[in-house]
């Protein structure tokens, strides 16, 4: 009788010790997983921060590209306005001028036509010549489209 009770208690104690052992092992295992999870979470946060930084840089690039295009549209409009001025400056009548000074207007027209042709080549992607790149004076520039043909020219 006493022996049976003893064995019963020893069994209970052994079970408790084994169960406790399992529980501790499980806790250790959980702890290791939690540490790994924590590292992964930190990595994920770093990735997100990198993404946010990248997005900020993208927005800067987008703004810069928009600004460049707007500037281009603006200077091209100036070229167009200048062309209009050349035809109509101070109520100028090109027709009457051509009748009065046929040869000189013909020469001017052909000169301007050649420059305008070159402008289309440049607009289509042609490389600028050294003379075009370095032109700074009115006498050196392509008067039809200085904004795209003569980057160093500042109107005066």
């Amino acid at each position: 009788m006493f022996g049976s009770i003893k064995i019963f208690f020893i069994g209970i104690i052994a079970t408790a010790v084994i169960g406790g052992g399992f529980y501790v092992m499980k806790l250790r295992s959980d702890n290791a997983i939690l540490k790994a999870n924590s590292i992964k979470m930190e990595e994920a946060i770093t990735d997100q921060q990198e993404l946010i930084t990248q997005q900020k840089n993208d927005f800067k690039d987008i703004l810069a590209a928009n600004q460049k295009i707007n500037e281009l549209v603006s200077v091209l409009k100036k070229d167009l306005d200048n062309l209009d001025k050349r035809f109509n400056k101070k109520n100028r009548d090109v027709g009457k001028l051509a009748i009065a000074k046929t040869e000189s207007i013909e020469r001017i027209t052909n000169g301007a036509s050649a420059l305008a042709t070159r402008c289309i080549e440049i607009a289509s992607g042609a490389e600028l010549t050294e003379a075009e790149k370095n032109a700074t004076k009115k006498s050196e520039i392509n008067s039809e489209c200085p904004s795209i043909a003569n980057p160093k020219y500042i109107p005066y």
């Binding site: 790994a36 590209a65 090109v94 046929t102 289309i120 080549e121 607009a123 289509s124």
Partner: protein
């Protein structure tokens, strides 16, 4: 007790977090840039009621058919402006393409 402790330790466990990452870069379009235009220069001839005969005579002397396509001074002005607008549009479109290429296909691997 043993079964209970095993049951408790296995059912309430912390699951390992798994984060999937798969980044596949899109292939670059890499279309060839169109060849810039190389245009021919054309010659304008101004004809008035005074010089018309002389102009046609010169053409015949040069072996050119004595025929001309004409524009009034106003239409010539419009033609010049139309060409200027086409040129501007061409420039803007080309620059837009360049900007798109710079943005989506940068030379360095920053993106």
């Amino acid at each position: 007790m043993l079964i209970l402790s095993i049951f408790l330790t296995n059912c309430s466990g912390v699951k390992e977090l798994t984060i999937f990452k798969k980044k596949v870069e899109r292939e670059k379009l890499n279309l060839n840039t169109p060849t810039p235009l190389e245009l021919e220069n054309l010659k304008w001839i101004i004809i008035t009621s005074k010089n018309a005969e002389e102009v046609f005579k010169k053409l015949e002397e040069q072996g050119i058919d004595p025929v001309l396509w004409g524009l009034t001074d106003k239409d010539f002005e419009l033609l010049a402006k139309n060409f200027a607008q086409i040129r501007n549009q061409l420039k803007i479109t080309n620059d837009l393409l360049d900007k798109y290429k710079e943005y989506y296909e940068p030379k360095t691997n920053e993106k």
